[in-house]
Amino acid sequence: MNTRVNNETSGPSSMRLVLTLAIAGLVSGIAIIGIYESTLPTITANKARELREAVFKVLPGVGQMQALVYRDDELVVVESQGKDEPVIYGGYDESGEFVGYAIPAAGPGFQDTIAILYGYIPGDKLVVGMEVLESRETPGLGDKIYKDLEFVAEFSALSVEPEIVSVKKGTGSNPNEVDSITGATISSKAIVRIINEAHTAWATKLPAPGSEPAMQVAETASTEAGQ
């Protein structure tokens, strides 16, 4: 036994150890690059499709979209979004006519951050759709904010003037009132608060109705090619 231990301590040279690890690392690296390269197109296409579907869902009648960011006091069309730069999406109908904005927003819910996307038509000052992108609200209660279609429908023509308010179920009558979900008051209030906050943040940055950035045709073409 003793001799064996001695043998092992004087075993393979450190050169061989380094070499083994280097080869293993190299092969592993090549394999990872290979899988990354081969799956990347599908992954980006999936992500883009998901986003398009969400945008089209919250903005009825939209056929094309482009990403917009607020830079140097105006809304500009961007190809890729910068880091930490809030981006919103302009929705346009098939003929390239501007319809509305799809604005991503997030805020604290009952359990964790709720991320939503809502459609906003600046001309009428109306919220026309709301889609929950991410939420960890309690299954069975809080998750009604996207499972309860009645609640989601509350956001299909909602005035943001002066601000959205949540009221007890069955009492909403004004165009800016949302019926809360029974048993999930906190989650429903959270959605309303998130939209209000995002609206306040964006209201001053959006250009006057009618002067929105035009749909850039080349932009879409390059995005399509990228997919």
Binding site: G11, L17, T20, L21, I43, E50, P139
Partner: protein
Amino acid sequence: MKKNESYEEFIKGVWRDNPVFAQVLGMCPMLAVTNSAINAVAMGMATFFVLVGSSFLVSSFRNWIPKQVRISCFIIIIATFVTIADYTLLALVPKVHKELGAFIPLIVANCLILGRQEAFASRYPTRLAVMDALGMAAGFLLALFSLGAVREILGDGALFGVKLFSENFEPWVIMILPPGGFLTLGVILLFFNWIKFKKDEFLEDVAEAERSGN
């Protein structure tokens, strides 16, 4: 004889030495992603792929890997397979990948996988190592599935998203939440130990009877 040996290695992982029910390994994915059957199965398949792939490679190269750096080599091999599984799931089933989230990369830290490399694959010929990995991975998959199925049936009244009961079924919300994972796992472990206990008791009785008969 040889066939029997591989079969033995396979079946021990599925039942007698089941990684979850007998060895209580891999608890982190076990509790975290079993809130629905589909998530559990996806996780099980990813682990299956990683375990079998790594065991095959480790066993094939076991004579070339120096003892001093074996753990690092195992980890490199496992991590590569995990990354491949991660990207493949992301490309093929983005919805499931989103649900599983960080737990796919965390397969690399599943002690079941490294444990099999160290305890088995690095010491036995490739054929046995693969059989062992297949058995262990199948046992893990079975455990994940049984937990996921129980939790989805009670918590959502469905299996693989198909509603099993009438519209009025009252879901047991706790089953989809983290405590449900602990409760279900605890009850299943209890059940397994009870079976084992009863079996031992029975075998003892038989032995007793034989002795007195002789």
